[in-house]
């Protein structure tokens, strides 16, 4: 309790907690869970976009998409490293992902069904992610905060790139514009769900707020996202698929229609349309690659042995 109070004072003073510092077990566990989920999301997130690399309709877009998916892998790598500073191995985290024990962002369990989705994911999904992540750049845990600064910078580049893809489609042929609208229709609600349940129904939140792991509530962030995104859609001439959406002068923000929480919970519980396919794909990559990882270890071992023998 003494220690907890001291820890809280450091947090309140906006001091960064570093891996070697003492920390409450709950703080450590919360961070391991959250950073791990975040890392897994980056890794699984490579799949829906990876699905279109081989079909990208221009070489410029193909290169940009490849680079984007590579960035996501890179984010996964920093985040696993940040989690490792808390004493959990990448191998263990991977096993948790593949066994279905660890979660990742549900949004990646929706399928990418057209090229327009490569734009919409950048625009909405990365946009929502940034809303969630910018406050994390000031997270109390140092390695996570530093990783997030780099991640956010790249994500906002992705977000602009995604918006530009959608803009090109919206200004393109009627088929392209329809493709963009269809994609917005499919991704809008899942994007809103990325901010989690309404504050009233959210667990974890209070303690995370006190520990400054989290700095805004789900509903606050969702509202920011909607307010930022609606004018962008208008500019593109696309329609947000929410008949109840309207400007609320009093609160200076948009009111939105009801979110389908049944769908939310279904997808969060691992029953999204692509959930099994995602894990199967990662599991296959991992299993098929076992011999490669073993060979790399065996070779490193041989090299070490030869070096010692030569000394």
């Amino acid at each position: 309790p003494e220690f907890l109070a001291r820890f809280q004072r450091r947090i309140d003073a906006e001091e960064k907690i570093e891996p070697k510092d003492e920390m409450p077990e709950g703080y450590r566990r919360t961070l391991i869970r959250q950073i791990g989920q975040h890392a897994h999301s980056e890794i699984v997130g490579m799949l829906p976009e990876g699905n279109w690399i081989t079909r990208a309709p221009s070489l410029r877009r193909k290169a940009a998409l490849l680079a984007k998916v590579q960035d996501e892998g890179g984010h996964g790598l920093y985040l696993y490293s940040a989690a490792e500073t808390l004493g959990v191995s990448r191998e263990d985290m991977t096993e948790e992902l593949l066994s279905g024990k660890a979660k990742y962002s549900s949004i990646f369990n929706y399928p990418t069904l057209s090229w327009a989705d490569m734009g919409t994911i950048g625009w909405l999904v990365d946009g929502a992610a940034i809303m969630n992540q910018i406050p994390l750049c000031r997270c109390s845990f140092g390695p996570y905060a530093r990783a997030m600064i780099r991640v956010c910078k790249e994500e906002s580049f992705h977000q602009r790139q995604g918006y530009e893809i959608v803009m090109t489609l919206a200004q393109g042929t009627p088929e392209q514009k329809a493709m963009a609208q269809d994609s917005l229709n499919r991704w809008w609600w899942p994007s809103l769900m990325m901010f989690g349940p309404h504050d009233a129904d959210s667990q974890h939140s209070d303690q995370s707020m006190a520990w400054k792991i989290k700095r805004f509530t789900n509903d606050e962030l969702r509202q920011k996202f909607i307010d930022a995104t609606v004018p962008q859609a208008e500019y593109l001439g696309l329609t947000i698929p929410d008949p109840d959406l309207k400007w609320n002068e009093d609160k200076g923000g948009y009111d939105h229609g009801p979110i389908d929480w049944d769908e939310f919970w279904r997808v969060v519980k691992g029953h999204g349309p692509m959930a099994k396919d995602r894990i199967k794909a990662r599991r296959k990559a991992w299993d098929d690659g076992a011999w490669v990882r073993e060979a790399a270890l065996a070779h490193a071992e041989k090299r070490r042995a030869r070096k010692i023998a030569a000394e």
Binding site: M46, P57, S58, L66, H299, K302
Partner: protein, 248 residues
């Protein structure tokens, strides 16, 4: 002047190999390779873009890089057979990359003296990239060749599967010969020694033998491919072709 067609051959090599390696994206044996593969893919696709663009300009019919990449069919593609071989497994993928880079590195080094400014520009960037590909893929050839029994067997299978596609790298088509005569592109046959040395060095560490192909496979430069290329192109071109004339 058929020089633009010689550039097309080169561009096709880079695009097809770049496409192949990008197929691994999200499915690699470890996260580091999930980063390295798109990295190599980006190098190759980047080079392909500059070459297509230049080829289109030299052709002078207003064809853009995308016209050349997306609107030619299997019989019109001029890549060598090596680069279109399916990924199969990580051993074959890395060996294919290593073979190709071991050829392209000295190629681009020689092309630094090209009489064509764009080619010189590409060469300056690409020779460094190819040096990295040789290092990265070459190290995997060594690790796998001198790793476990399984990995060594897979490397040997990869060598057996790919060695028949090596000789085609050193052939110059008629259009390539013309570009070589003008000092625009390096003479392919001259690069054999450099390739042999690079491969011999790595294979020695990997405990692999480099077999001589009794019956090398050829045909890519005349558009006589293996069956795998058509499937690759079907996928690559599907969206572009479904929307004729659209901008992306």
């Amino acid at each position: 002047m058929a020089v633009w067609e010689a550039l097309l051959e080169l561009a096709d090599d880079h695009l097809v190999l770049g496409h192949r390696i990008s197929e691994w994206c999200g499915h690699a044996p470890m996260l580091e390779e999930d980063l390295a593969m798109p990295n190599m893919g980006l190098d190759l696709i980047g080079t392909a873009r500059t070459l297509y663009d230049h080829a289109g300009k030299l052709e002078g019919k207003g064809r853009s890089e995308d016209d050349l990449a997306y609107l030619r069919d299997e019989r019109e593609y001029r890549n060598c057979l090596l680069v279109e071989r399916p990924n199969e497994d990580f051993a074959l993928t890395m060996l294919r990359q290593f073979y190709f880079a071991a050829f392209m590195r000295p190629y681009w080094l020689a092309a630094l003296k090209s009489t064509d400014e764009t080619v010189r520009g590409v060469a300056g960037k690409a020779e460094k990239e190819m040096a990295y590909h040789i290092r990265h893929a070459g190290e995997w050839v060594i690790r796998l060749g001198d790793g476990t029994e399984e990995s060594a067997a897979r490397m040997r299978d990869a060598v057996e599967a790919l060695h028949i596609y090596v000789d085609e790298l050193f052939d110059s088509s008629d259009v390539a010969r013309e570009a070589e005569a003008h000092g625009i592109l390096p003479v392919r046959a001259d690069l054999r020694d450099a390739w042999d040395r690079t491969v011999a060095e790595v294979f020695a560490e990997a405990f692999l033998d480099q077999p001589k192909a009794a019956y090398p496979q050829r045909g890519g430069r005349e558009g006589i491919h293996n069956e795998a290329l058509g499937h690759l192109l079907a996928e690559m071109q599907v969206v572009h072709r479904a929307h004729p004339g659209a901008r992306w």
